[in-house]
Each structure stands twice: as structure tokens, then as C-alpha cells.
Amino acid sequence: MVEVRNLKKQFGSLVAVEDVSLSVKAGEVFAIIGASGSGKSTILKCINFLEPPTAGEIWVDGRRVGVVQTGGRLRPARASELRLSRAEIGMVFQNFNLFPHFTALQNVIEAPMAVRGLSRRDAVDLAKELLDRVGLGDKFDEHPRRLSGGQQQRVAIARALAMRPKVMLMDEVTSALDPELVEEVLGVMKTLARDGMTMLVVTHEMAFARDVANSVVFVDGGRVVEQGPPSELLRAPQEARTKAFLQRILRTDA
């Protein structure tokens, strides 16, 4: 479903991501772990071209993202083509980034109407169904600032799902939440996983990675250090850097 091949991203002279290759199958939950500044967010942003990669290839559902082949020649995708790719890729941010002047419902219906061409009625039906699904059936008309962080993040998940994406990119979606609100968001993510959504999840929640992810990758200094099923990578890491990272994070978790 998602293929990242030899991805490199450079900001000026700083190499943030170097030679990263990942392969995520349909219905798989793929967790990315690593220290702050290791390039996790950059990997996600390159997948939907919020940050255009310096080198490498991104494939989503068999289609190249950001590059179009016409008559045997490759050219950068136009803005309109990029928008179509992005519509297939849901993204949820650490800070929710809901539109503050819209209600929960308006946040969810905006893109389906604008991008997918849904009628308002269909978009509202869809949005209500999705907000119900994330447990916010009674909050349609609330503005974000009247919702808790956990509720805002669930609206953001519904907003991304409303585009019927092929894959969801989730960047530390529980990191900005008070501890007691983390579970309600993780719960929604577990449901999504069970329903077969393909997900790339950057997370510091090791329990979530262990219980839900099919695959875990540890990145350090912009490179993949180690990759494998959580049972192996989290329980018996091979690399010294992975061990050190896990020890550090498990100590702070406890």
C-alpha cells in the first residue's frame, strides 16, 4: 500500500532523512519510533509531499506520489495532481490543527465537499457517522476551543477519515494530550486498525506499538536502524542504539 524507496530529505545543509526505505502492506499498522529530531515527522511529511523529498520515491496504492510519467518522461506533479494524491492520504497532527472557526461538523465536511464534490447533505451524513464512530455524536456543533484535547484529536481523525483515505499518517497524535486523555484517542486508533485501515504511526506509546502494530521501525539520525515485528524489535532489539533508546523510553514511561 505504501512504499518508500531510498528517501532522502535535506533542509539546506542538514540531512534530516537519509536512505529510508519502508514497505507497508494494506491493512497493516506500521509504527515509527525514535528520539526527538531523528526525522520521524519528516518521513511522514514526505509521504504526502508536504515536504517534497530531496531524493527517493514514494508509492501509495501503486501510484507514484509527486511525480508523473507522461510519454516515458518523468516530471514533477502539478499542484492539482498533488492535491489528488493528498486526498488519498489522511494525516493527523500532534497539535490537531482543527480549523478553529468551524464547528466539529464543519471541520469534517469541508474537504469532502471541496475536494470530493460531495453534496452538503451527503457530507453531513458522512461526517455525523464518522463523528459518531469516534464517540463525538453529541458534539457536532461545538467549536474546537470548547472541546478537550482528546475530543479535538478525535475530530481531527474523523476529518481525515472523511476523505476515505487509503492510508492514515499519524504523527505523535497523543503527545500533546493530558495523560488521562491519551487512552480515548488510542482506543479510536485501535478500532481503525481492527477495521483494516492502513496506518503509519509515529509514536512514543510503546504499549500501543507492541499491541497494535504489525511492524516497528526504529530511526536514528534520519536513518533506519532496525525494523521488525514488535515482538522482536521491542523485546529483543539487535542494535545497541535501539536498546539504548528503548531503555531510556521505558524508564520514563514507568
Binding site: R86, N97, F99, A114, R145
Partner: protein
């Protein structure tokens, strides 16, 4: 002084007519200059120097010369160049050019007050740039933009009096013609002043309505 406000009964049709022209001129300038100003604001921070630099130069020049001079350039300077406009459209064009850059700075400040993550969230959903600007970004600039916007709009309202110099029959010009015939300058000009004050008041009321809207929806508070 022997005041006679009974004169109002005689002069009000002329002053009303002048007020309508003043209102039309103000609205025409606001309607034309506001969208242009948004484009100026976006262009001023464009990544392309070919867009950014000419706008910076024009902004510096236009904001630095007297508005009356811009009006004269349009009304007297353009006809030899092949563009002869009537007084009213001349005034609209001149004030629009002038105000697009003043309002442009206002909107620019407003755009910078919106967190960049809002653009990113809209991009990630696949929204078009134009839709992002109109539906997502501009509404959030309202709290930052509204007070300076209204104070500039008040300048536009007062500035329409300059159009009397090219014989647009707006309120100040109407008042002058009326007192010249009635020999009652003080009363007539006081009435004109009151009308301007009322129109100002309407603009301020709009500002308060906008601020209430922003407070209700929470655009004014980051979260």
C-alpha cells in the same frame, strides 16, 4: 451668531443626494480595494521575487504620495494616455489603487497571525489554495484585521471628500454648493458633519459585530 437650523428643511434633499454619492463611493472603493488588498498581501510574501519585489516598490511609492495627487494623476494624467474616465470612476480607481496597498499591509499582518500549521492541515486534506485562503485562513485573520481595517475604511469615508476636487457630487461638495446659495455655511456644514459621524458609527458597529462573531467562534483564541 444667529443660527437657523430651519434651513435643513430646505437643504436636506441636496445633502441626502450628496450622502448617497459618498456612501456609493465608499462602498465601491471598499468592494474593489479589499480583494485586491488580499492579493497584494499574499503577493508581498510570495516566494517568487518577480511577484514580491514590484509589489514592495509599488507599496512604498503609493503609500508615500498624497491621495489627492493619485486622484489628479488618474483624472488629469490618464486622458492624454488614452484613458479618460468620468469623475466618479476616476475617484474609485484612484482610491482603490491607493487603498489596496494600505489594506494590503493590514491583511499581511493578519495572514502572519495565522499559525502556518493551518495551511499545512488544509494542504494535507487536498484543499485548493484559493479555497484555503477564503474559507480557512482569511476568517482567522479577522480578529487581527478588523480594527485596522475599519479604521482605514473610516479614512476612505473621509477621503471621499477629496473627490470634490474632480467634481464628484459627494457630501462635502453638496454641502458647499448648498451653503453658497443659502448663505448658511455653519448650519449646513454642521449637518454634513453629523452625517459623516453617523456613517462612521455604522462602520464601528460593523467592527463590533465582527468582533463578537470572532469571540463566539473562538477565532480570537489560539487553542
Amino acid at each position: 451668531m444667529n443660527l437657523d437650523f430651519g434651513i435643513i428643511a430646505v437643504v436636506w434633499p441636496a445633502l441626502l443626494q450628496g450622502s448617497l454619492v459618498t456612501i456609493q463611493l465608499t462602498l465601491a472603493v471598499l468592494v474593489c480595494a479589499t480583494p485586491l488588498a488580499v492579493l497584494v498581501a499574499l503577493g508581498r510574501d510570495s516566494r517568487l521575487p518577480a511577484v514580491r519585489l514590484p509589489l514592495a516598490v509599488m507599496s512604498a511609492i503609493l503609500r508615500g504620495i498624497p491621495p489627492l495627487l493619485v486622484l489628479f494623476i488618474v483624472f488629469f494624467g490618464l486622458p492624454p494616455a488614452g484613458l479618460a474616465l468620468d469623475p466618479f470612476p476616476s475617484a474609485v480607481l484612484a482610491m482603490t489603487c491607493y487603498m489596496a496597498f494600505y489594506f494590503g499591509e493590514v491583511f499581511r499582518g493578519g495572514l502572519q497571525s495565522v499559525p502556518p500549521d493551518q495551511w499545512r492541515a488544509a494542504d494535507a486534506l487536498g484543499l485548493k489554495r484559493s479555497r484555503t485562503v477564503v474559507r480557512i485562513i482569511l476568517p482567522q485573520t479577522l480578529p487581527a484585521v478588523l480594527p485596522p481595517y475599519i479604521s482605514h475604511a473610516t479614512e476612505v469615508l473621509k477621503g471621499t471628500a477629496l473627490a470634490t476636487a474632480v467634481a464628484v457630487p459627494e457630501l462635502t461638495s453638496a454641502a458647499r454648493q448648498v451653503f453658497v446659495v443659502t448663505f448658511r455655511p455653519f448650519e449646513v456644514l454642521m449637518v454634513a458633519a453629523v452625517i459623516y459621524a453617523v456613517l462612521d458609527g455604522i462602520l464601528l458597529a460593523l467592527q463590533h459585530a465582527g468582533e463578537r462573531w470572532a469571540a463566539r467562534t473562538g477565532t480570537s483564541t489560539r487553542y
